[in-house]
């Protein structure tokens, strides 16, 4: 057991899997000698060498197409896109090729690959380097979507992603890179599709993901001071989606809130809300409320960005206003 940052957990998770299985390879821009522009991949190049850890040109379509082809021919590649906003440049490869090919070939083509990318805002990089794009992927049948909230989960979910025989989008959150926690030594392997209750509660259910888990936890702490007992659920993966955990929670609390970093329309929060509105409507004691970034691009200015992304204060006020 030693303290590990979320940032270092990324290299640890990838390293754990590359050590175990020589079919695991890793490509991307500046991931090798440079150790990644966020220093999330430091040491991998030295450990596994240029055949397995490889810098690419600035050619995102080739990275994504490349890992797809590599997965078709016996490897289990991980491809990095430096910022998650850049999935836009390679979206055909992700949404039309990788996601659909197994189905369209009636199961002939296996694509055990991981697309890893730095997601999320709060770092004042402006509208094209700060997006949360987990919804873009959740919307596409054939993709699994993972977004860890803690260093330990980074390692365990990375292992699960690499071992999964389907394409997995692994979204680590830039804002969390400096987050530390004690993480057990040795191999850590999770399963995809298991949410966890990070904070038990009985009055309201708050469902969150990635950086928003910490916002929700802070809010839960403050809500307790107001006499509201909030249960905080960390979804951890969007596909597969652990509906049982939040439905069960809502059936106990009667109130559902989602805290989502994404712009408002058509997000995972809407999906959760819709599932609840169909499947546990009679358990609800009040409206389902989504707390999201407004439906705007993210501004660069720190004060504006802070206003845009849901804060603990906003969660607290929203929950209290509904009480």
């Amino acid at each position: 057991m030693a303290e590990l940052t979320y940032r270092n957990a990324i290299a640890r998770g990838i390293g754990q899997e590359m050590e175990r299985d020589e079919r695991v390879v890793f490509i991307g821009e500046d991931i090798g000698a440079a150790g990644g522009v966020f220093k999330t991949t430091v040491g991998l190049f030295e450990r596994f060498g240029p055949d397995r850890v490889r810098d690419t040109p600035i050619s995102e379509q080739a990275i994504i197409g490349g890992i797809m082809g590599a997965a078709m021919n016996g490897l289990r590649p991980i491809g990095e896109l430096m910022f998650s906003d850049f999935v836009g440049v390679a979206w055909d490869g992700i949404a039309n090729q990788i996601a659909k090919t197994r189905y369209m070939t009636a199961g002939q083509v296996a694509l055990p690959l991981v697309i890893r990318t730095a997601n999320g805002g709060g770092t004042h990089f402006g509208g094209q380097h700060s997006q949360s794009v987990e919804n873009w992927h959740m919307m596409i049948p054939g993709l699994k979507v993972v977004a860890p909230a803690t260093p330990r989960d980074v390692v365990g979910l990375m292992a699960a992603a690499v071992r999964d025989d389907d394409p997995v989008i692994f979204l680590d959150h830039k804002k969390l890179y400096a987050l530390k926690e004690d993480v057990p030594d040795g191999e850590i392997v999770d399963v995809l599709g298991k949410a966890v209750i990070r904070h038990p509660g009985s009055d309201v259910t708050i469902v969150a993901l990635a950086a928003m888990v910490h916002v929700a936890l802070e809010a839960a702490g403050r809500l307790a001071e107001h006499g509201v007992s909030a249960e905080v659920i960390d979804l951890r993966t969007l596909v597969p989606l652990d509906t049982a955990t939040f439905l069960e929670s809502v059936s106990r609390t009667g109130r559902l809130f989602t805290v989502e970093e994404n712009p408002r329309l058509c997000g995972w929060g809407a999906e959760i809300a819709s599932i609840a509105a169909e499947e546990c409507l009679w358990d609800l004691d009040g409206p389902i409320v989504r707390i999201t970034t407004p439906h705007i691009p993210l501004p660069a200015a720190a004060n504006l960005e802070d206003l845009a992304i849901p804060s603990a204060e906003r969660v607290v006020q929203t929950v209290l206003s509904q009480a």
């Binding site: 055949d51 197409g65 490349g66 890992i67 090729q97 083509v109 296996a110 989606l241």
Partner: protein, 334 residues
């Protein structure tokens, strides 16, 4: 145009293989055409009638574990990797006997186990995929070569540039084959490129040799294929080949091809790769009766496959919800 490489002789057996391959392609696609006419094909279809020499010449050079990637106009390439005709026609008709059980359709003919790594419906998408597959072969030390077929119009899309560049810098065993049939869908390629040869005139941008071959001459294609595939296999990197050819029909089922001048069509029909090759074989002394018999066989093979398709059931409705995931299913929730 580069003269056919005549540093080696083409054997009789190879010649017969090339001719047989072209005959089979021709028979297959004519039958695909017949099946639309019978109303058995509901979606679209893109025929390579007239482009058979390219498919035949390259396929003849490949090892079973080599990997071929093609476009929606990929029936011939996939067939010549060893696929049977019925699963191809069955997929065009989206029947249960199709190679993708009717879920892919005519644009996605695939049989991975045979190295028929798929037909891709979005222009340019498969170029980087072919590159990645080649890279995996290098990492795994398999000696495989990746073959990537695409059209003239595809040279203007971004993935072309990214893929050829990546293959070049990583010296990967990929042979990129541009089948220049002079047209995209309706628009002539000459209207949208600033050079004469859409692929060959761009080769130098990737440090590659300028290679143009008569794509209606199976021998010329074969010789180019041997050279470039061997080069790839030796680890000397990719090639970009431009094969000049022509499609006899319109772009797809919906297109009668009226935008092409009659004389142009007539001139190319005279250079039909099957006519050209038949003439060559006869002048080399192959007996016409043998050649006729080969043609009969190809037709019979296609007819039998068509019968299988006509008899094949529609896909099982249960197939709708299978094979999204590796576990065989499509569940996204617990």
């Amino acid at each position: 145009m580069s003269p056919p490489n005549d540093t080696f002789e083409i054997t009789e057996a190879t010649r017969l293989l090339l001719y047989q391959s072209m005959l089979r392609c021709r028979a297959l696609e004519k039958k695909a055409y017949d099946l639309f006419m019978e109303g058995l094909v509901q979606g679209t279809t893109h025929l390579g009638l007239g482009q058979e020499a390219v498919a035949a010449g390259f396929a003849a050079t490949l090892r079973p574990d080599d990997m071929s990637f093609a476009t929606y106009r990929g029936h011939n390439h996939m067939l010549l990797r060893g696929m049977a005709m019925a699963p191809i026609l069955g997929e065009c008709a989206a029947r249960a006997n199709g190679c993708c059980e009717g879920k892919g359709g005519s644009m996605h003919i695939t049989e991975v186990a045979k190295g028929a790594m798929g037909s891709y419906a979005i222009v340019g998408a498969h170029l980087p995929i072919a590159v990645g597959a080649a890279w995996a072969g290098v990492v795994r030390g398999t000696g495989q070569v990746s073959l990537c077929f695409f059209g003239d119009g595809t040279t203007n899309i971004g993935t072309f540039h990214e893929a050829v560049n990546l293959a070049a810098i990583w010296k990967l065993p990929v042979v990129f084959v541009c089948e220049n049939n002079l047209y995209m869908e309706y628009t002539p390629i000459s209207a949208v490129i600033p050079v004469e040869y859409p692929a060959a005139d761009r080769a130098s941008a990737y440090g590659l040799e300028r290679i143009i071959v008569d794509g209606n001459d199976a021998d010329a294609v074969y010789q180019t294929a041997v050279t470039t595939v061997e080069r790839a296999r030796r680890g000397e990197g990719p090639s970009l080949v431009e094969a000049l050819t022509y499609r006899h029909k319109g772009h797809s089922r919906a297109d009668p091809g009226k935008y092409r001048p009659d004389e142009e069509v007539a001139a190319w029909l005279e250079r039909d790769p099957l006519l050209v090759y038949r003439g060559r074989l006869e002048s080399l002394g192959f007996p016409p009766t043998v050649l006729d018999e080969m043609e009969q066989l190809a037709r019979a093979e296609a007819e039998a496959a068509a019968d299988e398709v006509r008899a094949a059931p529609l896909p099982d409705p249960a197939a709708l919800m299978t094979d999204v995931w590796a576990n065989g299913g499509s569940e996204w929730r617990n």
